[in-house]
Structures are given as C-alpha cells and as structure tokens.
Amino acid sequence: MVKPLPERPFEGMITIHSEISPMASSEYEPGRSSDEEVAITRMLDKVLKRSDAIDKESLCILAGQRVWHIRLTLHFLSDAGNMLDCACLAGMVALKHFRRPDVEVIGDEVTVHEPTERAPIPLAIHHTPFCLTFAFFPDTAIPPVIDPTQLEQRLSAGLLSVALNAQRELCVVQKLGGVPLDTDEVLNIVNIAVQKAKELNILVDTRLKEDWASRKVE
C-alpha cells in the first residue's frame, strides 16, 4: 500500500519487472538490455497496463492517501522462442489468479484483514488480452508461422505481434520490421489470432476454475 501519484489520486499502481537473465539463454547478459528484452518490456507495458486490463480505480483504498501498488515480476527460465507471447500469457494469468487482502475503510481508518481472517478478493479485471506472434520468412512462398520456435524466430525476416481479447477487440498491433504485408494478409492474420485467443481464453478459464475448486475457502 502506497501513496498514490499526485496527478491520479484515485488510481492504484502496477509495475512490471521483466529482466531476461542468462538463465534463459547464454546470449543474454545481466545488466545489458538486448533488443528483444526492450521489445518485450514495451509490449508488456502496452498489453497489461495501457490497455486497461486491470481496473486501477478498484485498487484505491483512501483517495489521495492510500492505494494498492501491485508489482508483477517475470522470470524467464528458458528461451525456446516467442518469449513475448509466453510473458504476456503468464502475466495475465498471474493477475487473474492473484487475490489481494480484504480492506475495510471506516471514515479515515483503514483496516487490512489478514488472509486467514477474511477471504482475499480477486483483482477487478475488465478484459483478458492475449498476445499472438506471427513470424514471416524472406521466401514469400512460405506462409506465416504462429508461435515461432527459437530457430524459426532467428531465421524469420520479420515478426507481427497482435494482442487482442476474446471479444474480438484489438489492443496492440506491433510489427517489428521485415517483410511488407498486404491488407488482406494482415486481416487474415487477425482472424486467425481471434480464433486462437478464444481457445486460450477457454483454456485459462478452465484451469483457473480447477485451481480455485481445489482450494479451501470459507
């Protein structure tokens, strides 16, 4: 719980920390930001914070004095290609899964209830964006590949990342250089991405429900 920013006294804060350590692959060095790391950090920022996936106003406890500050840390264990999609998915699922302590405000007094006293409550999530990456190759006869592996990513001429939710709303479209594309191709890709996002949505919801059912909450 922290003091909010003076220009936004009604909103909580979310910070995302995603540094790629050499554990992911021996190409990454600690301290030095590779291009991929910068791209992932910026994309995560756009997809998770600026798309308003989390309702920041629900994180407010006492306007102008106390708000929740959520810190999301991503550890990259192994680079098998397409870490961006994985990072977005992991971050989104972590935020959906998280439960914060219940807070009671009487006048100016703030009481934070322990998770053992009162059941913790989930964050208010407006929508669930998923990120999907397509790789294009210099030989235009090869169709774009979704979710490229390490080798495919290395050999690709360009990547197109599309972040959208299951309600067919586009959050972010990011194209990192490379092969020029027709409008038809881009629309086609967005349609495929919508299908995949719907599948992912069902998967995430089922798993979260299973996990919730296996926990004892009174």
Partner: protein, 232 residues
Amino acid sequence: MSATILPGTTVPAQHVNLKLGPGLLQQPDAGEAGPSIISTRAGTLNHSFNGSKWWVESNSRRYVPAPQESVIGVIVQKVGDGFRVDIGSAHSASLDGLAFEGATKRNKPNIKIGCLVYARVSLAHKDMEPELECFDAQTRKAEGFGEVRGGFLVRCSLRMCRDLLDSKHFLLPLLGARFPLEAAVGINGRVWVNAKEQKHIITISRCIEAVDPDGGGLDEAGVKALLGSLDI
C-alpha cells in the same frame, strides 16, 4: 540393479575402493557409521556389479563442465591472444589461441566470431571460467578437435548426447547406412551434423529430436517409420 532416487536420499554405498560418479556426494559429517553418501540429482541409481562404482543416471538440458569432456562451443569474442567460447555452461569458457595442434606465436588459427569449435574441457571448477583446448591430452595432436566448418548444430538433452556417444546406440549407424554423414557430438547438449544434401541434414536433425528422451524418445522401429515418411 537400478532404483529411482530423489535428491537428498541417503545411498547405501559401502566398499573398500568406493568410486562415486555423477550425482552423488559424500557428506563428511559423522553419522552413525562415518561419512554418508547422498544423491544430489533425481534419476536412477546404478552401481557396478561388485558395488565399487555408484552413480545416478539423470537427464537435464543445462551443462555443468567437467574436465576431459568433449564439447562443441560457439566463438563469441576474441580476447587478446585467445577466444571466449559459449559452451552452454554458466560461464563462458576461454580457449587460448595456442591451444591448437601446430600453433605457434606467429601461426595462430584465425577463427571468426560465430564459428563452431570442437574442443576438450581442460579445466573446470565450480566458480571459475572453464578452459578449453583443441588437442588430445596425451598425444597433443588434433584428433578431430578444432574448428568445424559447414553443417548444422542440433541441440538436444544431455542424456541424448551420452547415448549418441555410446557405440552400441542404434541411431547414427542406422542413418549412416542410408546416406553418408559426419557428426561431432558434444557432451554439452550440442551435436554438429553435416551431409552432402540439405534434406539429409534436416533428416538427421529431426531424428535426433525425435529420439531425444525429452522430445518423445522414439525407438528404432519408430525411427524407421519416421524415415519412411520423410522424402530422402
């Protein structure tokens, strides 16, 4: 003769000339009967027939360097007289410019950044940078070590590399009977393969990934079926 074991389990290994292989550690603290042996990895516990050699067979993808092991490395930097090589371990290894057969101060090998080398780990301690050499320890001749050109690098798990180095394993002779190939197996999870045609190289790479215990663990019949379905 083999049982599945978890890290931290005490191992009943007793022998006059006890030799501990990978995955076992001797704890010098005084238990009921002197030093105890515990396992540090999860895997199958094996021992030799007379109980003098004990080891744990496990699989992993991260390489921990040990001396006298042959590895394949990628040159990442030229440092003074030598090179910095990435062998997949926690630290980059150093390869001296003179550690090649027939290298003198005037005649150093000119290897570019990004090239592959097949080298032998000469020094490996837990907290230090490992050191590599490109000649055999006893004969001081190349014996296959040195820069490798062309071909393709396949990554696999460590158990797969150990299996490929075993002369009784089926995969490389099976593929070699179909088309000529060259292979250098590094024990750090990397295999360099080369063949005359691109589709042969791709075939070898796909077969290695299929037979890898991490990626399916196909047996000989499965590989033959896979080869039948590919166009070679």
